[in-house]
């Protein structure tokens, strides 16, 4: 009998075998599990999925929050407006640039910090505390603090530039520098989170692999490049996806530091959605923007998962 025939026979046997009835204990365990899951699932349903459905429905209507009863069905007009007017494309473009900046800077800096924290160098505990402090500090506090630091006239950073003879910079009031300033602030705030995730990944890498490579004559750089980084691909994927989603959802920096300006140069999409709904009173259009943002975030996450899929297990 060939292997193929054996497999076929085995699967046929599996198919005809009657399903074993669950024992009383299994039933009780399933019930307990359902009981524990139910409150969370209920909250998830009420506060996540139902609003998503309502949002999707609202994206086909034109209405204001001040008078929702006067809503009008407009079909795909809100989506057509996104193409006809520049605001959506501009805001999405700025948000992608912001996310790209955050991911490109956070990943290497967080990884370098994690390598340092994973070593036996002195002051690791102090550095760990220092990099985690911004993560646990409120975004409002961080944004306010950075607004003072980046003040074009009296900010600490401009004071330092002035002291070393460099020209003062406009930072948040310049169309060319404001977004970069927000990326720098986000890097400072989020790098600790990335570093802790990378550190957890590093501590899970089997030491014997690098030891074997070192015995075989590999340099530290070769070990890092050929063993550590490939084995950290799952962690890297996680950090990239998390940082991308965080960046695409960023609201506080635009709201508190720049109000989307100057000249919309920091008009991040979530802030734009907030403005569209609450200030411009175009809640239907804001819903349509939210639907597109949801689809974009899903698509980007799926692409990242496909591109950074892990090829090694340990």
């Amino acid at each position: 009998m060939s292997t193929g025939e054996q497999t076929l026979t085995a699967s046929a046997v599996t198919k005809v075998r009657p399903r074993k009835a669950a024992t009383r204990r299994q039933k009780r365990e399933r019930l307990v599990a359902a009981g524990f899951l139910a409150p969370f699932m209920l909250l998830l349903l009420i506060f996540q999925y139902v609003p998503l459905l309502v949002m999707a429905r609202n994206s086909f209507y034109d209405y204001s929050l001040l008078n929702p009863a006067a809503e009008k069905f407009v079909g795909l007009r809100n989506f057509a407006d996104m193409i006809e007017y520049e605001d959506a494309a501009t805001s999405f473009g700025i948000t992608f640039l912001f996310a790209l900046g955050v991911v490109l800077f956070v990943i290497p800096v967080a990884f370098a910090l994690a390598l340092f924290l994973n070593s036996k160098l002195p002051a690791r505990g102090l550095v760990r505390t220092m990099i985690m402090l911004p993560v646990v500090t409120s975004s409002v506090v961080v944004a306010t603090m950075w607004s003072f630091l980046l003040d074009p006239s009296n900010g600490l950073i401009n004071g330092a530039l002035d002291a070393v003879g460099l020209a003062r910079q406009p930072f948040l009031t310049s169309t060319g520098q404001a977004l970069a300033a927000l990326v720098a602030m986000t890097l400072w705030q989020q790098v600790g989170f990335g570093a802790i995730l990378f550190l957890a990944g590093l501590q899970g890498v089997p030491a014997e692999l690098s030891e074997a490579a070192r015995i075989d004559g590999a340099t530290r750089r070769q070990v890092l490049w050929n063993i550590t980084i490939p084995l950290l691909s799952r962690t890297t994927l996680f950090v990239v996806v998390i940082m991308t989603v965080f960046s695409l959802q960023a609201f506080a920096p635009a709201f508190l530091m720049t109000q989307g300006g100057p000249q919309e140069s920091t008009n991040l999409i979530v802030y734009h959605i907030y403005n569209t709904a609450f200030i411009m009173q175009q809640a239907g259009y804001a819903s349509a923007l939210s639907v597109v943002l949801l689809l974009v975030v899903l698509a980007i996450s799926m692409i990242q998962m496909a591109l950074l899929r892990s090829r090694w297990n340990y």
Partner: protein, 434 residues
């Protein structure tokens, strides 16, 4: 038990009984159905406790439930709560939004509840701002406008004598010379600024309330209605339906180039907020409402004076303040409307206005505020009566305010005035057409 114990107990009992009697006399018992009015307001805003307590004596069946939100979140909160199944009965809101809230059906028309003589007594600017389609939606309580404060010590040290009457008011180029003369430290990074930052919002320039008059003052309200001078002054068509050709006129662009120079080439005003800059002696001049003057009268941290707002061609200042109204979907519309109207009339209005120190909306109350009959606070009253204009009114004011403020801020930060205002026109028009 000793005799003095009995006397002492008797005295205590008598005091307690008399106190109860006084309380009962102060707060008449409610004989009808008890009603609770839900009020949404900002902290430190009217209606104030004293007039409310006085009003409750006449209306013992009415109780109040007050919810407060910071001014920055007020419009958002109203957006959400007004559409809910249980909206507040009375809302305090930013005055220029009256037409927007009236058009959306949030506010209850109160024309029929207004007392006799209200029409003649109220300031015309207040009535215009709070009316929509022939109905009055808010009686208004207080009115504000801005003037330019100055630090006497700094200004006198620089040899400057600011004008004290409207007839002698500076033009903007004259004011700029004064800013430059008084400023200390390098342009753009001064230790004492020529013109201090606003206390509104986050302290950045660009607010319609304070900064749109730069370009409006370059226009002329008496010019031909099709002329750019006329459109520059009004900044929105008379029917509130068009803004095209009203914001990017040659006169407006020229005025905005001057406005931009204050923050850039001349460097006499900061681009970011500095908390309490004027009150801490870090600014020679400063633009604010009468509330700042009244605070300085109570706590004179510095020696100060006021001077009228400078202009290019036609002097103009914006009016408007927070106000309040009864909601159309209130469960007690009659009582809510009565409360709102009562609070803004007669003695209750006086009690409310005197609490914060802004200007009253009733002409009959002006003589009772002696402070406004003499310099420096008289400048506000004179400006209000001679130069005051509401911010471009219409049911889409909130959107206009947001878009134009962003454009003005862009100009202050160095953007091209012509293209920024043309872009703002397009955006506002999209909202008006929708």
């Amino acid at each position: 038990m000793k005799v003095y114990h009995i006397v002492f107990a008797g005295l205590l009992g008598a005091t307690a009984l008399s106190a109860t009697a006084v309380q009962a006399q102060d707060k008449p018992a409610c004989t009808g159905e008890s009603v609770t009015l839900r009020i949404l307001r900002t902290p430190g805003n009217f209606p104030y406790p004293k007039p409310m307590e006085a009003w409750q004596k006449d209306n013992p069946c009415v109780q109040f439930e007050i919810n407060e939100v910071p001014f920055a979140q007020l419009a958002d909160t109203i957006s959400v709560q007004a559409a809910s199944s249980n909206p507040p009965d009375v809302i305090v809101y930013d005055g220029p939004n009256t037409q927007s809230y009236a058009a959306s059906g949030i506010l209850l028309p109160i024309t029929k509840y207004l007392p006799k003589g209200w029409d003649d007594d109220v300031l015309p600017a207040t009535k215009a701002e709070h009316s929509y389609n022939g109905e009055v939606y808010s009686p208004g309580i207080e009115q504000t406008t801005v003037a330019m404060y100055y630090n006497k010590k700094l200004v006198e040290a620089a040899g400057i004598k600011p004008p004290q009457t409207l007839a002698e008011a500076w033009t903007w180029p004259q004011a700029l010379e004064a800013f430059k003369k008084c400023q200390q430290g390098p342009a753009g990074a001064a230790t004492v600024w020529g013109l201090g930052p606003t206390r509104f919002g986050n302290g950045q320039p660009g607010l319609v309330y304070q900064d749109l008059p730069y370009q409006r003052s370059a226009g002329d309200p008496k010019a031909d209605p099709s002329s750019s001078a006329f459109k520059t002054y009004w900044a929105l068509s008379p029917d509130s339906k068009s803004v095209e050709g009203y914001l990017d006129t040659p006169e407006a662009v020229e005025a905005l180039k001057f406005y931009q120079s204050l923050f850039n080439s001349e460097g006499v005003a900061p681009k970011a907020g500095i908390p309490n800059a004027f009150f801490d002696g870090k600014a020679c001049f400063y633009i604010d409402t009468p509330a700042a003057g009244n605070a300085l009268i109570k706590d004179p941290k510095i020696e100060w004076g006021t001077t009228p707002i400078p202009y290019f061609k036609t002097p103009v200042v914006h009016t408007g303040s927070t106000t309040f109204g009864a909601t159309a979907r209130s469960k007690h519309p009659e009582i809510a409307a009565k409360f709102v109207v009562d609070m803004s009339w007669g003695e209750y209005a006086y009690m409310n206005v005197s609490q914060r120190g802004n200007l009253p909306t009733l002409k009959s109350l002006f003589p009772r505020f002696a402070v406004y009959n003499q310099y420096p606070m008289k400048v506000f009253v004179d400006q209000l009566q001679s130069w005051g204009q509401p911010r471009p009114p219409g049911p889409k004011f909130a959107q206009y305010d947001k878009i134009v403020s962003e454009a003005l801020r862009g100009v202050a930060f160095g953007g091209d005035p012509a293209s920024l205002m043309a872009d703002a026109e397009k955006k506002v028009q999209r909202v008006l057409d929708r």
